[in-house]
């Protein structure tokens, strides 16, 4: 009997350990009403701190953190003449959309009406529904899928360019700078909503530019095996392979193309190449791959909190000892938009802040921020980059370019 007790005791300890692990990162909240309390302006953010999107979630959080620190270093947010310190509460959505929505409800129960977006389109979509239901306000930092903006939501505003631009900007940059110009293109896409929307935008742009689309293949999101799609594409010998993908699939396309002897003039991939992991994981074979990004340190424009994009990059480097990249910039820009809206509204009341956001029209380190009726930031252009000598180098639009496109991207 004793040993049985011991065993159950041990099991209990383990269950508790698990509970601690899964619960860590879950923030507490007060039971105040919305708005400023004890000189603090409370914002809520449900972020992927663990799970499959932990990496991107952590980057987004850095953007939110930097924003909070910069705003508070300046004295805080001016709410109707009174300064309030910015206080962001983080909760872990475990990379699960359902959890993100539940955490938004929890923020609402705790009286937190102003929220910053979770990471990624699926979580943002789920959160946006909850935000709308509860009459909260959310500034979306990373959900670009059309699904978020076609439901008639009034309380969600996205600072980033919409999904349809992600592949289109790559097509633009290559057709603008490449000699010889590619004639045929194959599209490879992950099967999630965001990637599919991005691929569709790319196909439309390619056809507009006179490229012949020879293949459109899809594979499961976050797979590390894209060999079937590449085998099918290989016979068609495309000049250009464009991937609407995440980091894992993006790396797999380049690796497995080498394995399978698929040799286009160049590769273009949406969100993978700008992340530092891409070059680290691929080494030399990352060189020449073109990618698209929401932000580079060469973006024009400035604002009162972060200054220029270069200033932002320098501050980020000082604070986190890492190069600034676009996920965190999106986070910082979302936080910036919310802060500016609160100051403009002169109140932290959610409906007033919503109206202020709808009317916001400002320059920033992230580029212009203005929202259309659906809440999309349609005025901001995306940027195209290319990995050159292992470095992420901005190549397009021309007013931001650090270097010209090197073509053929695969070196020959």
């Amino acid at each position: 009997m004793r040993s049985l007790k011991l065993r159950f005791g041990l099991a209990l300890v383990l269950v508790m350990a698990m509970a601690v692990v899964t619960a860590c990162g879950k923030g507490g909240g007060g039971d105040e009403e919305s708005g400023v309390q004890d000189g603090k302006l409370k914002l809520g953010a449900a972020l992927s701190l663990t799970g499959s999107l932990a990496k991107e979630g952590a980057l987004t959080k850095q953007g939110y953190q930097l924003c909070q620190e910069k705003v508070n270093a300046r004295g805080g947010v001016n709410v109707g003449g009174k300064k309030a310190k910015l206080a962001i509460t983080y909760s872990d959505d475990k990379s699960e959309p359902d959890t993100a929505a539940r955490l938004i409800d929890q923020f609402n129960d705790d009286g937190v009406k102003l929220t910053l977006g979770p990471y990624g389109s699926p979580s943002t979509e789920a959160a946006a529904a909850a935000v709308e239901r509860n009459g909260q306000v959310m500034v979306d930092s990373s959900g670009a899928d059309d699904n978020i903006f076609t439901k008639g939501y009034k309380n969600t505003f996205a600072v980033l360019s919409p999904a349809t631009e992600y592949v289109a900007i790559i097509v633009d940059s290559i057709m603008n700078g490449a000699t010889p110009k590619p004639k045929t293109v194959a599209f490879l896409s992950a099967d999630d909503g965001f990637s599919q929307t991005a691929a569709k935008g790319g196909v439309a742009e390619a056809e507009k530019q006179g490229l012949q689309v020879v293949a459109q293949e899809s594979f499961p999101e976050h797979t590390t095996d894209v060999s079937s799609a590449l085998t099918k594409v290989r016979g068609k010998n495309p000049d250009l392979i464009l991937g609407s993908v995440h980091v894992e699939e993006g790396i797999a396309i380049v690796k497995q193309s080498a394995e399978l002897g698929v040799k286009p003039q160049g590769f273009g991939e949406t969100v993978a190449p700008p992340t530092p992991d891409f070059s680290k994981a691929l080494g030399d074979s990352a060189n020449g791959v073109v990618g698209s990004t929401q932000w580079t340190p060469q973006v024009k424009g400035q604002d009162e909190i972060f200054g220029t994009a270069q200033d932002y990059a320098a501050d980020f480097k000082k604070r986190f000892s890492a190069d600034a990249e676009y996920h965190s910039a999106e986070g910082a820009a979302a936080c910036l938009a919310l802060v500016l809206a609160v100051e403009k509204a002169g109140s932290a009341d959610s409906s007033k802040v919503r109206d202020a956001l709808a009317g916001l029209d400002t320059e920033s380190f992230f580029g212009p921020i203005t929202f259309d009726d659906t809440g999309k930031n349609v005025t901001k252009p995306m940027s195209a980059i290319q990995i050159q000598n292992g470095k992420v180098t901005t190549i397009y639009p021309e007013d931001q370019a650090e270097a010209k496109l090197q073509w053929p991207g695969t070196g020959g």
Partner: protein
């Protein structure tokens, strides 16, 4: 035709890699009736050790994998002896809960240590290959496949020709009788678990050089192992290899001839089909009878 051959070769090689991941999982399930939900975490741990050895000391993953195997063998032995042995007689959900907790702890630990960045071990030769006609055979995957076959052959030899192997099988068949014959059951269980963890770590090292990995990949490896173990059948050391190759081929062919987004659905469909036609898996004993002693 060349597309079919290419898909087949690739599926075969991928199947070898899948088998390598699953062989240890199948062993522990077959012998100890423990569904080790932390198996994927062991695989990822192996990948990180190999990655560290490669980036810090330039060690090729095919050498590094022996270090990984050694380290994880010791860890696995200790985990079984100190933790899992406490609940080995308890209902199955208890071991599930325990290994699930272990999985969470290891995955979160890896994330704290190495962050959630995607990693890959770069070898100078991994993506090179040779061609037979139109069909490309990459060296990295071929080596992985060869290793899977070698590991399986070695495991069969170990289980049928050595005293330790016989003791493991004997304990799996009838623990009470084994104990009466003088087999030190706790040691044998720990040995089995250590062996399984070592095989997982080797698989991780090799996969790390072929694919990308991050701590959150662990769950996927466990799920794959589960499917392959059931598909191949338990209680037979060849089962994982058979199951892995079947799964690899099915995935490659379905990706080639049906929609690429359906591969997972079709893989699980095949699992259901195999279980209907052959409830024992391809070459195994029925999983609910894998142990003689209930």
């Amino acid at each position: 035709m060349s597309e079919f051959l290419q898909a087949t070769v690739y599926g075969l090689l991928e199947g070898g890699l899948l088998a390598l991941v699953a062989v240890g999982f199948s062993l522990v399930w077959g012998v100890m009736n423990i569904v080790n939900l932390a198996h994927g975490a062991f695989v990822v741990t192996g990948a990180y050790i190999a990655w560290k050895l490669n980036t810090e000391m330039g060690l090729d993953p095919y050498l590094g994998m022996f270090v990984c195997a050694g380290a994880l063998f010791l860890a696995g032995y200790a985990i079984q002896r100190l933790l899992i042995n406490q609940v080995v007689n308890a209902p199955i959900w208890m071991t599930l809960l325990l290994t699930f907790g272990l999985d969470l702890l290891i995955v979160q630990g890896l994330q704290l240590l190495f962050t959630a960045d995607f990693r890959s071990i770069n070898t100078s030769w991994g993506t090179d290959g040779f061609a037979i006609g139109d069909v490309r055979v990459p060296y990295g995957r071929l080596a992985g496949f060869g290793l899977a076959v070698a590991v399986t052959v070695a495991l069969v030899w170990f289980m049928t020709r050595t005293r330790s192997g016989l003791a493991i099988r004997m304990t799996g068949m009838d623990r009470a009788a084994a104990r009466l014959m003088g087999v030190h059951v706790r040691h044998v269980y720990a040995l089995t678990f250590g062996l399984s963890a070592a095989l997982a770590a080797m698989a991780g090292a090799i996969l790390g050089s072929i694919n990308t990995f991050s701590p959150s990949a662990a769950g996927g490896f466990t799920l794959q192992s589960f499917v392959i173990a059931v598909l191949g059948g338990l209680g037979n050391m060849w089962g994982a290899l058979a199951g892995g190759i079947l799964l690899g081929l099915v995935q490659a062919w379905s990706g080639q001839y049906l929609s690429g987004t359906l591969v997972n659905a079709i893989a699980f469909g095949v699992l259901v089909l195999v279980l209907i036609v052959r409830p024992t898996g391809l070459i195994g004993r029925p999983y609910y009878e894998a142990r003689a002693e209930a």
